[in-house]
């Protein structure tokens, strides 16, 4: 007898089929957004580690030995902006790195061992990679700067591609969901035509009738979006347990924007469509 019971017949507007579609769409959208978020973060982590340091390798040239060039390189490094410290990797350590391939004791004095410098960068200052490369080649033709630049470019390109793909998926999922909801609303208005007519004739305003539709849709989309979100979040949670440093509250909060926006979109679409249709009714 509840006076607040639904006026439209249960499931006459938004049935279980629509619920399943909404849940699936929300799940897919969460996956797409979550993939971008986590790859962004992984790439960021990797890049900050990788760009915190560069190496310089100095080899003998025809008329200069590596040792000869070292002083010039050091002078350049000292006056270059963005460099925090540098350290010459001791020869024993380099030999130690080579021995597994060449065998102990086989690294002889006449084997040309390059001089390696570990340079750590100061993150607050801009580091001009190309400027340093040019200066080095001027004073030390055997010096080679390795900034992992190609790695970084590849990585960034990969992340970018994924972003575009995910945006595409999000757009498609949004369009598909909106279309499904519009069709469901139209069908719901059709099945409830008689009820709507009676409501109009006893003095209901369009807004009141629209609210009945919104209510049924929103109850359903709240439930199905929750299912889609929880399903996607659980998958990410499982993935993150395999990776360290990846899981945080912020991720799940950002992911929450998918169900929130999707419910908001559903609501706006229904309201608009129903009010517009009713305006042409009795």
């Amino acid at each position: 007898m509840a006076g607040n019971s639904q006026i439209l017949p249960r499931n006459s507007v938004a049935g279980p089929a629509l619920g399943a579609v909404t849940a699936t769409m929300c799940f897919l959208a969460c996956l797409a957004l979550g993939a971008v978020l986590s790859v962004n973060k992984a790439a960021h982590n990797w890049l900050t580690q990788a760009t915190g340091a560069v190496t310089i390798q100095i080899t003998d040239t025809e008329n200069l030995t590596a040792r000869d060039q070292l002083q010039a390189v050091e002078r350049v490094l000292k006056r270059t902006r963005g460099i925090k410290t540098y350290e010459i990797i001791p020869e024993e350590k380099l030999i130690g790195l080579l021995e597994p391939w060449l065998g102990t004791g086989n690294v002889t004095a006449d084997l040309p061992i390059p001089v390696m410098l570990d340079v750590s960068l100061n993150k607050e200052q801009r580091f001009n990679e190309n400027g340093l490369r040019i200066e080095l080649s001027a004073v030390a033709p055997g010096a080679k700067l390795d900034t992992h630049g190609r790695w970084r470019q590849n990585l960034e390109r990969g992340v970018q591609t994924l972003r575009v793909l995910a945006s595409l998926i999000l757009i498609l999922v949004t369009i598909a969901t909106a279309t499904v909801i519009i069709f469901a609303t139209r069908a719901g208005l059709g099945t409830n035509k008689q009820t709507v007519e009676v409501l109009h004739l006893i003095g209901a305003r369009d807004k009141f009738i629209s609210r009945q539709f919104e209510r049924q849709f929103l109850t359903l989309s709240l439930l199905s979006c929750a299912i889609g979100y929880v399903a996607a979040a659980s998958i990410f949670h499982l993935l993150f347990t395999l990776m360290t440093d990846m899981e945080d509250m912020q991720f799940y909060l950002l992911l929450l924007s998918v169900p929130v926006l999707s419910i908001l979109m559903t609501w706006l679409i229904i309201r608009n469509f129903v009010i517009r249709t009713l305006a042409k009714a009795l």
Partner: protein
């Protein structure tokens, strides 16, 4: 209160269902609308409860031209007119209690404010023990009384009833007539469409008689 001026009505592009209708319902009046089946009674009533617009002429409701009412003004007008539809039009998925309280719900009135009124009204129409039943489980006469209860619950200024005694025996028919007479005494303007001669014969109320879409003079007090 309600005035028809040279009203005609045509469905689609067929012949006129109503032609040159002129009459006025004064506040507090009680009229019958008679005529054989197909004469156009329901069509005329629809123009009053705003389920249609005249093809020609003017219908004035509470001194406003119905054709010129903005859409936003329709609900207020309809709330002042209680309608008993010929085919009842109860909502089958709602209980009798919910059906009867619907006109109040659409006005956003809280249940606590109307609950006891509805129960009283349901007793009055003899449905006090059927409040939680669904319309399809009720007899024709019971549905008719539920429809009447829904029409009067919002205390409208005007009650339009289309064959309100069509599905009940003479005795119940007379009881329902006394109900309308009672409401009329309280000031409600009433118009009852019927082709049941027994209903209006011997009653003191004037009669509008439709024949093939036109009002024809009746003898007596009209």
């Amino acid at each position: 209160m309600i005035r028809f001026e040279n009203v005609s009505l045509r469905y689609d592009n067929n012949t006129d269902v109503l032609q040159d209708i002129n009459f006025e319902l004064k506040p507090g009046s009680f009229h019958f609308l008679t005529g054989s089946s197909g004469a156009g009674k329901t069509s005329l009533l629809k123009l009053i409860f705003l389920a249609g617009k005249p093809s020609g002429g003017k219908v004035f409701l509470f001194n406003q031209d119905s054709a010129r009412l903005p859409r936003a003004a329709l609900p207020e007008i309809r709330r002042r007119i209680g309608v008993v539809f010929q085919e009842f039009r109860l909502l089958d998925h709602l209980t009798i209690y919910e059906n009867v309280s619907l006109p109040l719900r659409v006005c956003n009135i809280k249940e606590t404010q109307y609950r006891s009124n509805i129960l009283e009204l349901m007793n009055w129409v003899g449905l006090g023990d059927r409040i939680n039943a669904f319309p399809t489980t009720l007899s024709g006469g019971e549905q008719q009384r539920a429809a009447i209860a829904r029409a009067v619950v919002g205390r409208p200024n005007v009650i339009i009833a289309d064959e309100p005694t069509g599905n009940v025996d003479t005795e119940i028919g007379m009881r329902l007539m006394r109900l309308f007479a009672e409401l009329n005494k309280q000031g409600t303007t009433i118009l009852i469409a019927t082709h049941d001669k027994q209903l209006w014969e011997g009653s003191p109320y004037p009669r509008l008689h439709l024949e093939q879409g036109s009002l024809v003079p009746t003898y007596g007090e009209y």
